[in-house]
């Protein structure tokens, strides 16, 4: 019932559109990640959903209820949402328990109910021994859990998370990713999660919306985004990818370094400059020409590095384009060798723009 829907959402500061005609539907109980580099507008989008920022154009609906439009914005306190902040925003003058029950007290619940709910959430988040401490006496991971508990205890319709793990050290961050997903599976709140870390997005999200320059470049499942990027930006931002530039040929092929490549993905227009993405580990590399197949590009090995589990090549095609290739560690080809690159047609994705 409570799907969140953004329609043509735009926020301008002066001339600059920080969020530019963003439309997105978030299914009830799903976890959606807004993923993008810093300054792409993802945090502003989140603050628009929370009601801290009023839109310049467009609207936000929860279920059938219109909560944000340029004419009327329901203030944050009446949206039945909760949010976890980058800084955690724990109130230093309240104990852990006081922090957590703050929202319940505002809802005027009776003392017994509050006590029960507090005990339950303290158990779930393993915070029971720390209830009477002040936030300043907790470690980063503990503070993070208090922030989670405080947001979850009010049973929000929608949960918003703003880079919640970015202040944790690397190990803890990895652990907390799964924790976030576990809690989401347990409570099933509709969740919007903002991050710039693709691994975080991959671990936690049902749906990833990649944002760039205020716009959603692509929205899809983690598999969609990774395997079928639709734009150069997405291809480069998610995982590492070679993006080579070719020219469209009639019949849907793309000519690159004199080789007509068969591609999937966007429709290719003849004569148009067309970027094609291919992941480094999808490229086959060999010293001898392998049979009579399509998509074979001659190249030279510029350097190679042994990484233990794999081998990392930099190769250069005839037209000077450099590509990264990752192969099994055993396959060693010396620097300077002439090689054949096999680019599997189903892995070559023609991109728009």
């Amino acid at each position: 019932m409570a799907a969140v829907e953004l329609r043509g959402l735009t926020k301008r500061y002066g001339e600059a559109a920080v969020v530019d005609r963003v439309s997105l539907t978030i299914e009830h109980g799903h976890l959606v990640c807004l993923l993008g580099p810093s300054g792409c507008g993802k945090t502003t989008t989140l603050r628009l959903i929370a009601g801290f920022v009023e839109p310049s154009e467009g609207e936000i609906r929860v279920g059938e209820r219109l909560i944000s439009s340029p004419a009327n914005t329901v203030p944050p306190e009446r949206r039945n949402m909760s949010m976890i902040f980058q800084s955690y925003a724990l109130w230093p003058h309240m104990t852990v328990a006081e922090n957590i029950v703050y929202g319940l007290k505002l809802r005027k619940l009776d003392r017994d109910t509050i006590g029960k709910k507090l005990d339950a959430i303290l158990a779930t988040t393993k915070l029971a021994p720390l209830a009477q401490r002040y936030p300043g006496e907790l470690s980063g991971g503990q503070q993070q859990r208090v922030a989670l508990a405080r947001a979850l205890i009010v049973e929000p319709e929608t949960l918003l998370l703003d880079e919640p793990l970015s202040n944790l050290d690397a190990n803890l961050r990895e652990e907390m990713r799964f924790e976030v997903r576990r809690l989401h599976d347990a409570y099933r709140y509709t969740t919007v999660y903002v991050t710039h870390d693709q691994a975080e997005a991959m671990t936690t999200a049902d749906l990833i919306a990649v944002m760039n320059a205020g716009k959603i470049e692509q929205a899809g499942t983690p598999e969609d985004i990774y395997d079928r990027p639709s734009s150069e930006f997405v291809a480069r931002f998610i995982g590492s990818s070679n993006v080579i530039r070719g020219v469209g040929l009639a019949g849907g092929r793309v000519e690159f370094a004199g080789v007509p490549l068969r591609c999937v993905g966007a429709k290719v227009e003849a004569g148009a400059s067309t970027p094609v993405s291919i992941r480094p580990h999808d490229i086959a590399i060999s010293l001898r020409q392998p049979g009579d197949t399509d998509n074979l590009v001659p190249a030279t090995v510029v350097r190679q590095v042994f990484l233990g589990g794999s081998r990392d090549y930099m190769v250069e095609s005839k037209d000077g384009t450099q590509l990264r290739v990752v192969t099994a560690a055993a396959e060693s080809i010396p620097q300077g060798s002439a090689v054949w690159l096999g680019l599997p047609p189903d892995r070559c994705r023609a991109l728009t723009g």
Binding site: E64, P75, E77, A89, W91, L106, G136, V154, L160
Partner: protein, 578 residues
């Protein structure tokens, strides 16, 4: 149910209209009245003259012509420049080495020295001037008596004459150098130790590092300090009124004041005020440029402990220097005040035989105006502190949270009074409130307006930086969990800022008690405050009563600060910052 919701929401939104915008517009209007009104009247009066026949004011530049040609104005102008330049140079000569000794060497009692210099801030300059009168008046001054006693010099000879240009410069320097000292010492504190260590790594010795790295880095603060000292010396009223008038010369501030004695010449006073205003604005801009945007920050963590220079045997001359310097604004004057308070004649040394409580009796019982002045001071102090804190709090919130469009204007208006010297504000307020529709002259209200205007900039800066130190996400977190803006202010922001608010309140209260330059222009017999009373008593030569009043002012100050901090619910909270 889902259909009913949007209508309900809209209805509630209308009912719970956001009051922030009209409220803040109201505050902007208040600020305009506080700042723009007096300055406008000032400028208007300085360029017009009343035509007695038609009762219409006509444009004229005659006042400025008089100001820059008549010796009666040119001489005070030159005197003011001489005083300001000399005392700022002296301040620098004294404060820079002291600041360095305290911040960068292993001199003993460094903390105590800092504390004592800061304590000399609390002394109102006019009280210091009176104390120095007791010490160094040519005939009766304690130091001159000592000189004659030691050397056997005849009765009419004297070592010091405080009623002179040099005497005035000396006393002004005594109460201005703490500004330079604090700026320099803080700047030296903030120079990261690694900069000096880098120099040491490259082979420079301790002294060479000090000369080539430390001192140049502290130079901007020193320059800014000199500007502030210049400014203070220029706009001070109390010290020149006490020392220059008996010596028969004027500075600009005393001249402006004398223009309001009979027959009043408000136009000339307005014209004479404008140069002070203009120079102040220019000096503050220069200081801002020199210090850069972060210059004001007195807070701020230290990176590492600075390398302290080992003084060795030099510690002895260093300590002697420091003690000598501190004795001038602090030890000697307070000795003189205590002495005068308990002595039958201010300039006679107290002995167990002649010690008397008569001065105290006279001040609090016989002198009829004391009770009134104390009441007025207390009421005004508390009211200004409360009103000023509230104003500063709201404007600080609006600017730090950028809550409304036009918050920059609010911030500017709140800081602007810093550029209006007290006496100039006094003239402006006199011109604004002696006419309908608001005839406030002669009431406590006009003094309240003056005090709030004068203290607003510092209060605003303190509270605004306090707001900035509170992460806005702390407030957002409360909103999203269901608290309204007001509930959030009450339950989150206010508790977090409690200590700052309290400090600001005390700061305004204390500053109000010691204010003289604006009060002297605005008081009437019914609205006398303690600082004005002291000034009056000086004219009738009641040095003993002045000492008693001055010392009780300080006691009152400390009592208020301690009392407010002990109040249940304030101070001593278990505040822990994440």
């Amino acid at each position: 149910m889902t259909i009913a919701l949007p209508a309900q929401a809209a209805e509630r939104a209308k009912f719970k209209l956001d009051y922030t915008v009209p409220v803040l517009a109201g505050f902007a209007a208040v600020l305009c009245v506080l700042v723009v009104l007096p300055v406008s009247w000032l400028i208007y009066y300085s360029v017009t003259i009343g035509d007695p026949a038609s009762n219409v004011r006509v444009f004229t530049l005659a006042h400025f012509y008089t100001l820059f040609t008549d010796p009666a104005f040119v001489n005070p102008l030159l005197t003011t420049i001489t005083v300001a330049v000399s005392s700022s140079v002296l301040c620098c000569a004294v404060a820079a080495p002291m600041g360095w000794l305290v911040a960068r060497t292993d001199m003993p009692f460094r903390r105590t020295v800092r504390l004592l210099v800061t304590a000399s801030f609390v002394t109102p300059p006019f009280l210091g001037a009176v104390a120095w009168e007791i010490l160094a008046a040519p005939n009766s001054g304690l130091l001159n008596q000592l000189y004659r006693f030691v050397t056997g010099a005849p009765q009419d000879e004297h070592l010091f004459n405080i009623y002179s240009l040099s005497g005035l410069i000396f006393v002004i320097t005594c109460y201005t150098f703490p500004y330079v000292f604090v700026l320099v010492a803080n700047a030296l504190d903030r120079i990261p130790a690694d900069m000096e260590e880098a120099s040491a790594m490259l082979g420079a010795g301790t002294w060479r590092t000090a000369r080539r790295v430390t001192i140049p880095l502290a130079l901007p603060a020193l320059l800014a300090g000199i500007l502030i000292a210049f400014l203070q010396a220029m706009i001070l009223f109390g010290s020149p009124a006490i020392l220059a008038l008996p010596a028969g010369f004027h500075t600009m501030t005393t001249k402006i004041w004398s223009l309001f004695q009979y027959p009043p010449q408000p136009e000339l006073a307005a014209a004479a005020s404008l140069p002070l205003l203009v120079v102040t604005v220019m000096l503050l801009r220069a200081q801002h440029t020199i210090l850069g945007r972060k210059g004001y920050t007195v807070l701020g963590g230290k990176n590492a402990d600075p390398r302290l220079i080992k003084l060795g045997w030099l510690a002895v001359p260093a300590m002697t220097f420091v003690v000598a310097v501190i004795s001038l604004p602090l030890f000697l004057p307070y000795f003189a005040l205590f002495n005068a308070a308990f002595s039958p004649i201010a300039t006679t040394l107290v002995t167990p035989a002649n010690a008397t409580l008569h001065n105290i009796y006279f001040t609090f019982v016989e002198l009829s105006s004391t009770q009134l002045a104390l009441n007025n001071t207390f009421i005004l102090g508390a009211a200004s502190a409360t009103l000023g804190t509230v104003l500063a709090l709201v404007i600080g919130y609006a600017t730090a949270r950028q809550a409304v469009t036009g918050h920059r204007v609010l911030g500017f208006l709140a800081t602007a009074p810093i550029a209006i010297p007290g006496i100039v504000l006094g003239v402006g307020l006199f011109l604004s409130y002696t006419r309908p529709p608001l005839v406030l002259y002669g009431t406590l209200w006009v003094l309240l307006i003056a005090y709030v205007t004068i203290e607003l900039p510092a209060a605003y800066q303190q509270l605004q930086s306090a707001f900035r130190a509170v992460n806005p996400e702390l407030e957002d977190a409360s909103r999203i969990l269901g608290a309204t803006r007001l509930q959030t202010l009450r339950r989150i922001t206010a508790p977090l800022l409690r200590t700052n608010v309290l400090a600001t309140w005390c700061f305004i209260f204390v500053s109000t008690i010691r204010e003289l330059s604006a009060a002297i222009m605005l008081f009437t017999s019914e609205t006398k405050v303690v600082s004005v009373l002291i000034f009056d008593l000086k004219e009738s030569g009641e040095l003993g009563a002045i000492s008693v009043l001055g010392l009780s002012m300080l006691v009152l100050t400390f009592a208020v600060v301690i009392g407010v901090n002990r109040m249940p619910g304030f101070g001593g909270t278990r505040l822990r910052n994440t």
